[in-house]
Amino acid sequence: MKKHNIHLQPLGKTLTVNDQTPLIDVLHEYGIEFPCGGKGTCGKCKVKLVAGEIETTDIHRQKLALLGLGAEWRLACYSTCTSDITLEIDQYNHLILADESEFEYSPQRGFGVAVDLGTTTLVAQLIDLATAKVLAVETMLNPQVKFGADLISRIQACIDGNEHELKRLIRFNIGTMIELLLVKHNVPLHKIAIVGNTAMHHIFSGFDVSPLSQYPFDTPHLHAITFTTSELDWNFEVVGDITFFPSIGSFVGSDILAGIAATGMHKNDTYCALIDLGTNGEIVVGNKNQLICASTAAGPAFEGTNISMGMRATTGAVSSFKLVENKLIANVIGNVSAKGICGSALVDAIALLRKQDLLGIFGEINSGESTIELIKGISLTQKDINEFQLAKAAIAAGLEILCQSLKIQLADIQSIYIAGGFGNYINSSHLVETGMIELPVTKIHKMGNTALIGAKMFLFQDANTIDEIRSKTIHINLESHPNFQDIYVDKMLF
């Protein structure tokens, strides 16, 4: 079969691929993402063709025209490789948070791996079980992103017959990450703890995801499951168990179970809340007697998917804005020129635009223009602002409804923990000022990747702790609350 070379700039990498290889198959490893699942609607997988030819179909040309992209651009999701080509890609160098937190533990012998299997990012840490120290970290993008950014598109991809491919990809990548950890430290592994949301749990384990695709979302597989390395096609040895921890409900998985463990909220007398500002926006509220949790559709805006200049927290993203003498000043990740804004900067921008009285209470741009320039070359559209309102209202309404279910007031919450990828960059005061969290800023604590912290703790805990948290935690569906719409819409206002 004919082979072609793909040169990637500015990485300086060359890939050799078979004739007719779809670019979607080879580029996602280099940080190209496919948030819309290859439908050609989001334009996030655009690549600049520097040399060579990629033929375009009518539909490809239509999509490029709709996105306002000129002749040098191609959408990777619509492209196949038929000759040697050179591409310029700038979606590289992902910064994935790896946590270094400390916690209480009883020393054990040997070494373990904690894995946070996120919808968007994967993190694996090699832990010395005698000291609980992190020896090494590996991070990767979830290889399933080529099937779409959100959970529903992954579930849809499985239903469309790709379930084996999604399972193979995720098992392979996690196996690879662990091998890379072992290359850094050649130690015997005693156990592996994996946490992730329910859809990731099902796909990794090979369970049918179709119950997760529609109401009433009842799946028989919320339980923990253990594997052997041979079942997973992993070429290294593990003395003890490889465990994927149990889910709480159909849309709240062991990543949140781990988050609860990391915050210790299940042991607290006072009420606490945990908000994971990731793709699925899970929220937990409660104390040592009872915890109630739900997922919200908050993620896409925070992950940059529905924001015109939105991107994840990677090189070139504005990570924060501050107001200096009535002008916005941007901090850009990697000290390069700004290419877009990530979730934390979006929160900053909205809060500061409100402060400058440039946005009204309905989120309308007061000048009447359809866009608003933040700094040179970076702007928000009216639609972007509305997307943010949907996301912040989802979180605020979720908090309110969970408090109502517990028959407590929002003000009864003493501590609120913010977790998730961009959680650490976020300015807590701005969360309050935008109305996403209607509590004093002093109650907000940024926790980083609580799923990973919890997974690490699970390496040291027996099943009782996990059963204890699960038995206290119930899962509700926010949309079925009778006043959901009124609460949600009220929270869209500023």
């Binding site: 529903i152 598109s153 579930i155 849809q156 239903i159 695709s213 529609q214 109401y215 309905f362 989120g363 309308e364 359809s370 009216q382 639609k383 509305n386 309102q389 949907l390 569906n477 949309e479 079925s480 719409q485 949600y488 819409v489 009220d490 869209m492 206002l493």
Partner: protein
């Protein structure tokens, strides 16, 4: 035109349901849609006139602004609430037949899906354009649409879905409705839906926003 109708049009467009409602701030303490409708009736304006010359044009303006991204969901819902307050006053005239509606519109979110805000927005806009609306709620199976059409012969049906995974249920529901009642006109809508999908499953029309449905329906009725 009657000054009260001009005022009513304005408060519905701005989303002031009644005197007590705090929004919008610039109309604080003034009459809202409810009071103005009562006053218009007392002044001898016909219910049909109130509908056609105040409520329908107000919602038409709101729908157009929403379609152009000039206003967003909260403002649209406030206008819809204001219209609802006026409709409540007019309700007896709908029941007695003193107001003629353009037809009956049956809407629901399809089986497997609980999302109803988009569906509600369409329902309110269509009601505000002078149709009588029957809202079947969420998680609606084919049988309930069919039953509703049988109870309201000639009614137009609209199916809503927010998820790509529930959108697929539309195909079967459209097929079931068409098998039982082949002349029924079926709209589909929702974030993942598009015209291609509409054609593929044999539905009759797709529009990307509520105003599109209103304009389509008005063409059908004229």
């Amino acid at each position: 035109m009657n000054e009260l109708l001009v005022q009513l049009l304005e408060v519905v467009e701005l989303g002031k349901a009644d005197q007590k409602s705090p929004f919008p701030p610039q109309l604080k303490g003034q009459d809202g849609a409810s009071e103005l409708t009562t006053k218009a009736l007392e002044a001898g304006v016909s219910p049909q006139d109130i509908l056609e010359n105040a409520l329908i044009p107000a919602m038409d303006k709101v729908g157009k602004k929403f379609a152009e991204n000039k206003i967003f969901v909260p403002q649209m819902l406030m206008s819809a609430r204001a219209m609802g307050a006026a409709m409540l006053v007019l309700k007896p005239f709908f029941a007695s037949g003193a107001i003629k509606t353009k037809g009956t519109f049956i809407i629901g979110t399809v089986k497997g899906d609980l999302h109803d805000i988009g569906k509600n927005l369409v329902a309110m806009m269509v009601e505000g354009s002078g149709w009588s609306v029957i809202d079947l709620g969420v998680d609606v199976p084919a049988e309930r649409y069919i039953q509703a059409v049988k109870e309201h012969p000639g009614a137009v049906v609209a199916l809503s879905a927010l998820l790509t995974t529930t959108m697929v249920n539309m195909g079967q529901i459209v097929a079931d409705i068409k098998a039982e009642l082949p002349d029924t006109f079926v709209f589909i809508g929702g974030a993942p839906v598009n015209n291609e999908f509409c054609k593929k499953i044999g539905a009759d029309a797709y529009t990307p926003d509520p105003q599109g449905v209103v304009e389509y329906l008005n063409k059908m009725a004229s």
